[in-house]
Symmetry: C2
């Protein structure tokens, strides 16, 4: 089935709603892309708000849909879940020269790349902020009420995209986000490759930098497990907490004792995140 | 860490409980095995009852633990989840001659094989009924209150093992079970290979045969999706319904409109199954 520019790959009933996988040709990424959507039962009768989930390194659109258990709560609340892929894909898309997991395919870092050879395809920022919502709100029963969340690299993406587009997202949350990519190994590698050596260009994609100067940002919830093997070196949660204090933003940044970086952690707290977003999506 | 005969591979916090993976050397299977356990928070303070989950073709102990979302309810109710593998494993274990997905590794069918070359290792019936509970109740905070459930091939296993051991399992449930393996392609292939051509030996592993003559069996709940691509040819749910009528067993066998064979279906109804079992595990 093709809905104009969207081709449905599969559809499965889940908690009375529709778990659907689509492909389409992305203009800003210059390649074919897959993504998943969960439409709650309420979408049969009218437009529903949407929560965007941005996944972490190595993930596709399927990790969150299969492992987080979010559909149960989304079906109860009447919220659509939008699950994009984590990078451009396909034969023409350049990967990490060494095939590393933390750069290139599966690791788009939600930036608009400016450095060769990545600048042609790696525009995940524009894809998430502009192209995908426009496409979805044209073809699916979605209102323009949006919220954004994600995990690890996707937590970084959610924080950055949310904070930079306060008119487009009513609330922001994140699990185990990369909070200060300009100051951690993952972020330094990614930003060097995608953006080049001019570090002034990196700042626009750093949640701690953005939050420190944020004026009246959206409600913000972050959960970080203390048994996470990437905490604190890669994630730098303390720097996000410091930035929130600096700007007097009432962000709720919680350390969850004993939890790790996995979907067992996400599943344990996803209900609280959906109920948090529901407060603002239905406001 | 080794608990006598159990070696812990990993442990992750999940909904306040402990998601643990163990390895051990199985006596009845003559090979090393992996399995997963979820211990709810209540297990820190005393023994808890256990629900055994038997998985389907191609699965390991990890499909249910990562995709079903059962830990949330198990943590609330105080029930341990036991997730075994689906066959013996290892270099010395014979597989399907053609490497097919529906026989051999990942497809033990929960029988005690009697035909060569499978009779040496393929004793999943004894492993599930005897060895694993004995090992777990010796080393983990589990009571001897047990229930059993599973999916597809594992739904077949749960029904057969439950019905044949009414003193060991207080309640039985299944998702999309292979209800009448002596009369479907999957079952005929498996039973021919594991048990040989004497079809009188197959009857003891057929849920419809067993249920038709059951005397006062345990409470029984079955869910089957009507959009399941294996329904009805492989699953033969109608024969289980007929068997329940024949023996006047008050089994609840439900057709769920529009659901398929996937974990999206299991996730949608696992809460109802856990609450069903809780009624009898805490009786």
């Amino acid at each position: 089935m093709t809905i104009s520019a969207l081709t449905k790959v599969s559809e499965q009933l889940c908690f009375g709603g529709r778990q659907i996988r689509f492909t389409h040709t992305s203009t800003v990424l210059s390649c074919d892309m897959q993504f998943s959507v969960f439409l709650p039962p309420q979408a049969e009768h009218g437009k529903v708000p949407a929560l965007y989930w941005l996944s972490g390194l190595t993930c596709t659109d399927e990790n969150f849909s299969s492992k987080a258990g979010a559909q149960r709560i989304a079906a109860e609340l009447g919220i659509a879940l939008i699950m994009p892929d984590t990078s451009p894909r396909g034969d023409g898309v350049p990967d990490d020269p060494d095939g590393a997991y933390d750069f290139g395919l599966g690791a788009g870092f939600y930036v608009n790349a400016t450095a060769a050879p990545y600048a042609t395809h790696y525009h995940m920022y524009d894809y998430i902020v502009t192209e995908l919502p426009q496409l979805l709100e044209q073809h699916l029963p979605l209102s323009d009420k949006r919220a954004i969340t994600g995990h690890s690299m996707g937590g970084h993406g959610a924080l950055v995209i949310g904070l930079r587009n306060s008119e487009r997202y009513r609330s922001i949350s994140a699990f185990s986000p990369i909070c200060n990519p300009v100051a951690c190994p993952w972020g330094i590698k990614a930003f060097s490759g995608y953006l080049g050596d001019d570090k002034s260009q990196w700042q626009q994609y750093d949640a701690s930098v953005l939050l420190a100067v944020a004026q009246d940002p959206q409600p913000l919830l972050v959960d970080q497990g203390t048994a996470d093997s990437f905490y604190p070196e890669q994630l730098r949660t303390d720097n996000l907490i410091a930035a929130a204090k600096q700007s007097a933003v009432p962000a709720e940044i919680r350390l969850q004792a004993g939890y790790d970086h996995s979907y067992y952690f996400i599943a344990s707290f996803i209900e609280q995140h959906l109920r948090f977003h529901a407060r603002y999506l239905f406001d």
